[in-house]
């Protein structure tokens, strides 16, 4: 078993060398580890390495092959790189997936106010939409001048993290009069 893993912009090949009972010998890049590792619950591992006791959570995310990994004091995003991931990554590098003209919700919440509709002309800083979550309201403003292309949500609708709220087609900035 061999896997390419990526964490904090560092990519390493992790390779199983031996696996007897709880004791797993593996290489991470050019380093060799012998760990006593056991799964204590669905997403939690107890790892003993050179006597040190580590508790590590490995939690699946909504993105396939991406894991949130929590050690005692650190949180990591670990990605399993395979052919599919490599393909996606290449695509990502060639074209922007998000920019200032696409507004997505940063948290689950409820749309309390929509100020604009498709076709509206908006100026920099103009309020577009207000989201409410847990007694806190956040107003989202236009980052660029442009024409509203899409507003796929309505007032009163609940939205999830990362859900699309507004898309704006950018125009050239107007001359300052």
């Amino acid at each position: 078993m061999e896997l390419e893993l990526k964490v904090n912009n560092r990519s390493e090949i992790v390779k199983e060398v031996k696996h007897e009972g709880n004791v797993l010998t593996l290489s991470v890049g050019d380093k060799l580890y012998e760990v006593d590792i056991v799964k204590v619950s669905n997403e939690e591992f107890s790892v003993l390495y050179k006597g040190k006791s580590f508790n590590i959570e490995v939690i699946e995310t909504s993105e396939p092959k991406h894991y949130n990994v929590n050690t005692l004091y650190f949180k990591f995003d670990v990605e399993v790189i395979d052919n599919e991931a490599r393909y996606r990554q290449n695509r990502k590098q060639s074209g922007p997936i998000s920019n200032d003209n696409t507004i997505r919700s940063p948290m689950p919440g409820k749309v309390v106010k929509v100020y604009v509709k498709p076709g509206d002309r908006v100026e920099v800083g103009q309020p577009l939409i207000v989201l409410s979550a847990m007694k806190m309201e956040s107003e989202f403003k236009a980052g660029n001048r442009g024409i509203v292309r899409e507003v796929p949500v309505t007032e009163g609708e609940t939205v999830d993290t990362n859900q699309l709220l507004v898309i704006i087609d950018e125009e050239e900035p107007a001359e300052i009069s």
């Binding site: 799964k39 204590v40 790892v47 004091y73």
Partner: protein, 507 residues
């Protein structure tokens, strides 16, 4: 007044405070009625109560703030009293009045007391009359510059000059030096005139590095009033308390006594009944001024319970029943030190944005000197409609140092996954020199924000461990046959175990 035992309490609240109130009711043998919105059918308070009734849609205005629906539910269930918790209707005088009209005991003060203390100007006047210090300042409009200068001299620098008709910072000037007085007055007047068409000014003492210190009071229906000492609440972020402790590291015994006497005088002046809190602002020279009264239980009440040894909810209920206070001021003492940390579902790395979601895993801290008032459970989805407080962690220690050590240990043990929380941020607070030394004021978080939000140094070996565990997780999903079972005595598996196995295939 005659005593009338309460048999059933409707708790007009949700979250940790609803459960905290129900716990004391259960210990007293009192039945509990929960109310819940459409978003809260699976909430813990519904499951903890003896009875539970839906009171409307998710938005608070249509459920937890719906006075008539709550009164109707209390009548339907036969509750003889209502506990409002904190927030929602707890400081709503209309609600207190409607309870009285409906013949249901409101566990809290009268509508008259709530109204008197709710209006800042009437409260300030009442306090002055009762001899309680308020922030020094003029109470009348100043239109002459000479009179203004006279006032400033009386109050003493620094002062804040404000526009009488003002708001939003317009016409406001901070004056620290005597040489600035005249020019500042003129600038403020001109700005006030332009902004509000009225150049009348108002002058207030400016408290430079303020401390927020509050006193817990209890008053029965017979005028007996005691205080249960202070809570230091200066660790705040955007006026939201984050950490509270008692005793305050700042107070001297003399100042404590003086403040306690003022707190009792304030409560008496308000004709107060039940549990309440007198908030003070204090400067570095330990001068203290009345800020406002909270006519309800506070979020941070557990630290007082721990250090004074009194269950405040039980006392609230007994007072509502018409009992006399079971102790006098001299019976109450502070013993040891207590700290509370508020665990909030927010993303400290993303401007403290609320972070609702589904709790996947919780490990709560335990052991000597630990209390945890929480309401979430594994698999529970925190709704987006309400407050983001998910838990309060309270510790006690023989000394302040021991309490801090214990809090660090408890925060180390506390694990919540599924939503982002302030746990790590709170750990950093416990490590901040200003907090450890007890030398902090309300600017603490602002002044220490860099330290509080910095990452620890992460070496590559932590990364390696993260990769190893991920590898193991991946392995366990694909190589079921390689299961090495750590528990030695399982030969035969129950259905349950077989089910579980799917998820905990041990590698």
């Amino acid at each position: 007044m005659e005593q009338k035992l309460i048999k059933k309490v409707l708790v007009a609240n949700r979250g940790e405070i609803a459960i905290r109130v129900m716990r004391s009711c259960r210990e007293m043998g009192i039945e509990t009625v929960a109310v819940f919105s459409d978003a809260d059918r699976t909430a813990m308070h519904v499951r903890y109560a003896n009875e539970a009734f839906n009171i409307g849609p998710a938005p608070s205005a249509e459920s937890y703030l719906n006075i008539e629906k709550i009164i109707e539910t209390a009548k339907k269930s036969g509750a003889d009293a209502i506990h409002p918790g904190y927030g929602f209707l707890s400081e709503n005088s209309t609600f207190s009045r409607r309870c009285r009209e409906a013949g249901i005991k409101f566990i809290g003060p009268s509508p008259e007391s709530i109204e008197m203390m709710g209006d800042k100007i009437s409260a300030r006047k009442k306090m002055i009359a009762a001899g309680v210090p308020v922030v020094p300042g003029t109470t009348e409009k100043l239109t002459s510059e000479a009179k203004a200068i006279k006032c400033i001299k009386e109050i003493g620098l620094p002062v804040m000059i404000k526009a009488s008709s003002g708001g939003g910072g317009k016409g406001m000037r901070l004056v620290k030096l005597e040489s600035q007085i005249a020019s500042s007055l003129r600038a403020a007047r001109s700005e006030a005139k332009t902004s509000f068409g009225d150049d009348a000014l108002y002058i207030e003492k400016y408290i430079d590095s303020p401390h927020h210190i509050e006193f817990q009071i209890l008053a029965d229906q017979y005028g007996n009033t005691v205080h249960l000492f202070e809570r230091e609440c200066s660790v705040q972020r955007r006026h939201q308390k984050v950490v509270e402790e008692t005793p305050s590291p700042l107070l001297t015994p003399e100042v404590r006594t003086a403040m306690g006497e003022c707190a009792v005088a304030a409560a008496k002046a308000a004709n107060y009944e039940g549990a309440g809190t007198i908030e003070f602002i204090m400067d570095e020279q330990l001068n203290f001024y009345f800020l406002e009264m909270n006519t309800r239980l506070q979020v941070e009440h557990p630290i007082t319970e721990r250090v004074v040894g009194v269950d405040l909810v039980k006392e609230q209920i007994r007072i509502a029943e018409g009992a006399k206070l079971p102790f006098k001021q001299k019976d109450l003492k502070q013993s040891g030190h207590s700290i509370e940390c508020r665990i909030i579902a927010e993303d400290t790395r993303n401007n403290f944005m609320p972070n609702p979601g589904t709790i996947t895993h919780i490990t709560e801290p335990y052991g000597f000197g630990i209390r945890c008032d929480s309401y979430v459970y594994e698999g529970y989805t925190i709704p987006i409609y309400y407050d983001s407080l998910i838990s309060k962690l309270i510790v006690w220690g023989r000394t302040r140092d021991e309490a801090i050590d214990r809090m660090r240990r408890a925060l180390f043990e506390y694990k919540i996954t599924g939503v982002k929380t302030t746990i790590r941020f709170l750990e950093r607070i416990m490590d901040t020199p200003d907090f450890k030394n007890g030398t902090y004021n309300t600017h603490f978080i602002e002044e220490n924000s860099e330290f509080l939000l910095s990452d620890g140094t992460c070496d590559s070996s932590s990364e390696d461990m993260a990769m190893i565990a991920t590898f193991a997780q991946y392995l366990s999903q694909f190589e079921i046959s390689k299961i090495a079972n750590a528990a030695p005595s399982e030969k035969r598996e129950s259905n349950w175990k077989r089910q579980l196995r799917k998820f905990t295939a041990r590698i």
